[in-house]
């Protein structure tokens, strides 16, 4: 492996991704959550159960997940649960929009997004050079949309 190829792979598998992939945060079932959905990517068999608790003011109080998948999809879900706390559905939608653009190499509007969140999304955006892996990075977010709309199942295929 030459240096160029090694850097290339490390763009995808950055330390933050590997860390979240190995030790996912908020990895638990939440029976009391008022929104949940199952995300499934049939191409690689990734599955995740997402649990979101939204308070009366429409603010996400807790987000957690359980499931299995590749490093990218687990890391993305883990980082998403960290990002969601304290955000409204509209803010979450803006984050997804930003993430989707970053992961597909399109211009992304970072206006109003915390620098911590930008860092997390930056780490994920290595998938832009791996088009087939974009679905891995976005599965959790598609599942979030389904959960907030109270659709029980979502598939990225």
């Amino acid at each position: 492996m030459n240096a160029m190829e090694a850097n290339d792979l490390r763009d995808l598998y950055q330390d933050l991704i590997l860390d979240h992939g190995k030790r996912p945060r908020n990895f638990r079932a939440v029976p009391t959550a008022n929104h949940e959905a199952l995300g499934h990517n049939p191409l690689c068999g990734d599955r995740l159960n997402l649990y979101v608790t939204v308070d009366n003011n429409g603010v996400i109080q807790d987000a957690a997940f359980q499931g299995s998948g590749c490093a990218i999809s687990v890391a993305s879900a883990s980082m998403m649960t960290e990002m969601l706390k304290g955000k409204t559905a509209a803010q979450a939608a803006h984050l997804f929009d930003y993430l989707h653009n970053a992961c597909t190499g399109k211009p992304a509007d970072a206006n109003g997004i915390d620098s911590d969140d930008i860092d997390r999304i930056q780490a994920l955006s290595g998938v832009r050079d791996y088009p087939i892996r974009v679905k891995c990075a976005t599965l959790a977010w598609h599942t979030l949309q389904a959960a907030l709309k109270d659709e029980k199942k979502v598939s990225t295929e």
């Binding site: 030459n2 190829e5 290339d8 792979l9 068999g45 299995s68 490093a71």
Partner: protein, 428 residues
Amino acid sequence: MTNAAEACATANGEELFACAAPQHFAVDQYRADFPALAQQIHGRPLVYLDTGASALKPRMVIESMSRFMETDYANIHRGVHTLSQRATDKYEAVRATVRRFINAEYDDEIIFTRGATESINLVAQTWGRTCLKTGDEIVITALEHHANIVPWQMLRDQTGISLRIVPVTPEGDVRLEDVKAALSPRTKLVAVAHISNVLGTVLPVREIAALAHAAGAKILIDGCQAVSHMPVDVRDIDADFYVFSGHKLYGPNAIGILYGKRDILAQMPPYQGGGDMIESVTFEKTTYKEPPHRFEAGTPPITEVIGLGAAIEYISTIGMARIARHETDILAYATEKLSRINSLKIIGTSPHKAGIVSFTMEHAHPHDIGTILDRQGVAVRAGHHCAQPLMEFMGIGATARASFGLYTSRADIDALAAAVAKVQEIFA
């Protein structure tokens, strides 16, 4: 299967090496026949280990199809003109080529389809819908490809039959006693893979056929992975139906084969209606041609049939027994090499294996393995391999799969092992 291949495939680890005689198999010479192998992927020479999904094409297949379209192409069975006659003759000649290749008795037992999937659907929707009724049973195994599961489920929902599933051992074997236990007087069909596309297990199809016949059932064998890896003799197996796809056999896509015994095909109604499958048509009544043309409605994939014929000629010239011996050597070499990697686990450890090594790694998901290998020029498949029930049965979500062909070299396996080391490095 020839005796030599059988001995190799069924021997234990050490004997596998003893019976390997790769010296006389000029793999580098054959590799030069495959233009795709000359390219680089991400700056590395292509190491193509996804033949189980689809085989690369030798130059002579590509050229035979081009030449046919340039000089002989016309619609078949229709024109009185010279080109139509020439195209018809070449098309029908491939039926004889396929017949010889699998040692069927008659040319009219060979039906051209769009692929093995269509072959199985054809049997389900013609033979199945006319011959089966509520209460009848079809026996399949837990290791089947979706193509040998879903058509039977559709037939089940149409006719009220039921499916019985023969389990697979943790090593990936199908035991004859388990097949026997699944059979009953209600069994009308046993539908099994010849070689598992995930585990590489070679099933004892000859013995399974004997059990099926003793129970009064027919047997359909999905030979997609087998025909490219070893000699297949449908009469020796005593298969009632045998199906495979052209593209896994170094031929083009969109062409497949259904072999069926003459007397069974004769009782089957048409699959699709259209041109070329009829004897006469009036608005009151249409009569159909005899097999095989009864099952080939419309203009078939003519050029693809020519390509498949060329592919069979190509591998027959090399010799299926020699290809089987070569791939057995590669399988043994790969098994030995990958077994040395601690974090890697081979899925499917039957002593009866051919051409496929599925594996998982401790910290890396198969999809991540696939991406990292690809960046080093190594093409493998990652996922459930269209065998989700088997994955569930084995308690795994997915595997990475390296599958071999006649062009696979020991150097390819060395590159695979080196690429796997990179996965370990990233996920350490």
